[in-house]
């Protein structure tokens, strides 16, 4: 536990140091490059403060709703076993890895003015409803982020040793008692971190907030940054706004860390979870309802995306397939790099007392993609042609951007590892490579698989910085998708979206599966 800081082995310290340095270089470093080029920070007007208010409001609402709605869904998935459960869990994760524009189209196919919901309402003779505005922004953000919250909470439930539930059953605990003594401490340990992660994701929202926001009332800070960069070429103001985002990120992360209480369940024998307490009919119905509603909400837009794209999938033009290959390579490279950085960082965070490393680990979430892109452009321009660097830079940036999610998955498990096995390992003199092989990797296998899957899928779907660096021959799949849309080829774009979705999900499934090959799930 964090009470007792343990010395880091030299290898681990170096790994964590490199990871932290790389994150700082890509976040504060790129911002610094922009400020340097601008010759200082700019000033903010009343419109910027209004944008900040809207941004924080929608992000807080989106994060709170995502977390609250995820609790019953994750609990239901954790305590029920049914055929197809594994596949459903993978599918439910899909919205989180969709490119934003594809997700928006899927949401509108269901909730839009011409969507299924409104058609159904009209058929029943009811008024059509419009989702554009704050409600649409929050709806879309919950759609995109509920999957992440469910998956992270599900890991929390898995992290409660089955022995505790057996003990609870032996003591005749009701579901309410279990909730108080086992589930709430777990939620207290994970909840704040999940909330702040989603809050930060929504903080840098740009296309979702604008497209579904319905007009300039829904202006976010990221849009203001975009405008400053592109239309005003006011680098100082862009840098000032980006600094504000980073300050918000640091504040939110530190506040969440204060609210986080360690759960302290102790070690178990990794037996399958059995929940005799949940066998009552009302609880069965409750769980069935939670799983059904969440599946409908998350899978219906996904089904709309798939139905729209399936007809053009087989006839996609060759450049799309080439881009898909390129994206796969970038995704695998990103994943390898992200895991190599995340593991030492998570272990170091688990052993350290302060919050500095954890805050650094969250910085990429609040960093504007435009600032990273522009900053890197300024920093690397003298070294090589930007086009030659396009793919390696994209892989590296995607890896660093995925680190906060990897850390969210790894830190709780790494803390438990330290608490439960740290002293035993010390007393046995288990250290270095042997400790990694015999203790760390086996114990962290599940979150590592999840983190790898998530990184690969996110990297597949991310437009990232490639747009600023790529030339015609090096487009990734998401860039190609945008190009198809820009060339009026919406049907081909829909087909490319299905290809992207299928590849992302396949990568996620294989890697996540690899992490729990021996688990009874």
């Amino acid at each position: 536990m964090a009470d007792r800081a343990q010395p880091l082995s030299p290898g681990l310290g170096a790994g964590a140091g490199i990871a932290a340095t790389l994150i700082l270089a890509l976040t504060l470093g790129t911002l610094g490059a922009v400020i340097h080029r601008a010759g200082g920070l700019g000033s903010l007007g009343p419109a910027d403060w209004a944008a900040l208010r809207f941004t924080v409001t929608q992000a807080a609402l989106s994060a709170a709703l995502s977390l609250l709605l995820a609790i019953p869904v994750a609990r239901a998935l954790a305590r029920r076993r049914f055929p197809g459960r594994g596949v459903l869990i993978t599918l439910l994760g899909a919205p989180f890895i969709l490119p934003v524009i594809v997700a928006v189209m899927g949401i509108l196919a269901i909730f839009g003015r011409a969507g299924l919901l409104n058609d159904a309402l009209a058929a029943l003779g009811a008024e059509r409803v419009s989702i554009y505005g704050l409600s649409g922004v929050v709806l879309a953000h919950v759609f995109l982020n509920l999957p992440l919250a469910v998956r992270l909470l599900l890991q929390g439930w898995r992290g409660i040793p089955a022995e505790r539930f057996r003990l609870a059953a032996a003591l005749g605990f009701s579901s309410t008692d279990i909730s108080r003594h086992l589930e709430r401490p777990m939620l207290r340990a994970l909840g704040p971190g999940i909330f702040v992660t989603i809050f930060l994701i929504c903080l840098t929202s740009f296309a979702v907030a604008l497209t579904l926001g319905g007009g300039p009332k829904a202006t976010t800070v990221e849009l203001a940054i975009y405008q400053a960069f592109r239309f005003d070429f006011d680098l100082g103001r862009a840098a000032q706004l980006a600094s504000l985002q980073l300050a918000l990120c640091a504040t939110a992360t530190l506040a969440a860390a204060r609210l986080t209480l360690p759960a302290g369940f102790g070690a178990g024998l990794d037996r399958a979870l059995a929940r005799p307490d949940a066998a009552t009919l009302p609880l069965k119905l409750q769980d069935a309802a939670a799983i059904s509603v969440a599946s409908l909400f998350l899978l219906a837009p996904l089904a709309a995306v798939i139905l729209a794209g399936l007809p053009s999938l087989a006839t996609l033009p060759a450049p799309v397939w080439e881009a898909a290959q390129r994206s796969l390579l970038v995704a695998l490279a990103s994943t390898a790099l992200a895991i190599a950085l995340a593991l030492p960082l998570a272990l170091a965070i688990a052993r350290s007392k302060g919050r500095l490393l954890e805050t650094i680990g969250m910085l990429p979430l609040a960093t504007s993609a435009l600032v990273i892109g522009t900053g890197l452009f300024l920093l690397l321009r003298g070294l090589a042609s930007p086009a030659a660097l396009a793919l390696p830079v994209t892989a590296a940036v995607n890896a660093v951007m995925a680190l906060p999610f990897c850390l969210r998955a790894l830190i709780p498990a790494a803390r438990d590892l330290e608490t439960d096995y740290g002293r035993l390992a010390e007393s046995l003199g288990l250290s270095g490579a042997a400790r990694l092989r015999h203790l760390t990797l086996p114990r962290l296998r599940q979150p590592l698989g999840f983190a790898a899957g998530l990184t690969a899928a996110l990297s597949m779907g991310d437009l990232g910085v490639i747009a600023l660096f790529a030339d015609a021959e090096r487009a990734t799949l998401p860039l190609q998708l945008y190009r198809l849309m820009g060339a009026y080829r919406m049907a081909d774009a829909a087909g490319a979206a299905v290809l992207l979705l299928a590849l992302s999900l396949a990568l996620f499934w294989i890697l996540d599966r690899g992490g729990r090959a021996d688990a009874q799930a």
């Binding site: 604008l210 405008q227 070429f233 452009f377 015609a472 849309m485 060339a487 009026y488 919406m490």
Partner: protein
């Protein structure tokens, strides 16, 4: 390990391409160089006659393109920048990075007179609201009729997209002092404001709005590429705001003669005949063979609106503030 080898391979492939031929580097926006844009065919046609290597470098849209050139400043590798429009040329000219174009013996097919010493036009279009003829029967004839109707529209944000900025200037030039009133009237017609053209057009095709801000040439794509004649552009009596896309030579180029040759090539039939069916805009010089079949079905508004580059730059912030205030209520 294999990945790093592949990446290393990619890097080698790029350096190997640079042989002894002179290289002309043209910065442009992304959709120009995509498989579906004019880029690949333009490259083949120019390389066939110039004995050079034409190297396109793409970045985002027109605004991103200018931002990149401004970031690079004097040390830019670009010889030509292709893809700015008249909303961006004032800022580009102010930077002092661009040089005058060579004398061109061309009769422009532009709806306005063109006499800019730096920027050479290669295509143009008029903004228009596009609708589906099978769904919308009563088509408004001007902004006031649109505002009074219960038709829904989706528009682009002037803070992040060129069509959005074009619409802002369109309303401003057509209505002057009354522009805020027009925007207030349009507020309840606007379903949403998207970051760019692709999102807006996608939303329109999904049926989220009756009309979308696009170009008078948009219906030609559906007609020619999809044999779909249901899309049409609504002619407005105020006239239609113009977008002229231009290219220019960098003052610091070390390939001055080649750059001049490219600018001249840009106004030739070989280049201009590619524009209608790849960029879906009007060529700046109508090719000898005329426009492709299908373009004759498009509306041809007689009145074009366009602020000069300096006027556009001067009124932008005030017009933007009016727009934002009117739509934030």
């Amino acid at each position: 390990m294999r990945h790093s080898l592949m990446i290393a391979g990619l890097l080698c492939a790029t350096t190997a391409a640079a042989q002894d031929k002179p290289v002309l580097t043209v910065y442009t926006y992304d959709s120009f160089v995509s498989e579906w844009g004019p880029g690949p065919q333009v490259e083949a046609a120019f390389e066939a006659e110039c004995g050079c290597d034409l190297n396109f470098v793409a970045s985002g849209d027109g605004a991103a393109l200018l931002a990149r050139v401004l970031l690079e400043g004097d040390s830019t590798e670009a010889d030509i920048v292709l893809g700015l429009d008249t909303n961006l040329t004032a800022k580009a000219a102010d930077s002092g990075l661009f040089a005058d174009h060579p004398a061109l013996d061309v009769s422009w097919s532009l709806p306005i007179d063109w006499a800019d010493p730096i920027f050479v036009p290669y295509d143009w279009g008029q903004f228009a609201f596009v609708y589906d003829r099978t769904k919308t029967e009563t088509v408004p004839a001007d902004f006031e009729a649109l505002a009074a109707s219960d038709l829904t529209i989706v528009i682009e944000d002037p803070r992040s997209s060129t069509p959005g900025l074009g619409l802002l200037y369109w309303v401003k030039q057509a209505y002057g002092e009354r522009a805020p009133e027009i925007w207030a009237g349009l507020a309840d017609n606007i379903v949403t404001v998207t970051p760019g053209w692709s999102e807006a057009y996608g939303l329109f095709l999904e049926g989220e709005a009756d009309m979308v801000l696009s170009y008078t040439t948009s219906p030609a794509y559906h007609l020619i590429a999809e044999s779909d004649d249901t899309k049409a552009a609504a002619p407005f009596t105020e006239g239609h705001y113009l977008q002229v896309e231009v290219a220019a030579k960098l003052a610091g180029t070390d390939q001055g003669a080649l750059a001049d040759r490219f600018l001249a090539f840009m106004t030739s039939d070989a280049f201009q005949s590619l524009i209608p069916e790849t960029n879906w805009m009007y060529p700046a010089v109508t090719p000898a063979a005329g426009l492709p079949k299908g373009f004759e079905t498009l509306i041809r508004p007689e009145k074009s609106l366009l602020y000069s580059a300096t006027e556009a730059a001067a009124i932008r912030d005030a017009a933007l503030a009016e727009w934002q205030t009117a739509l934030s209520r």
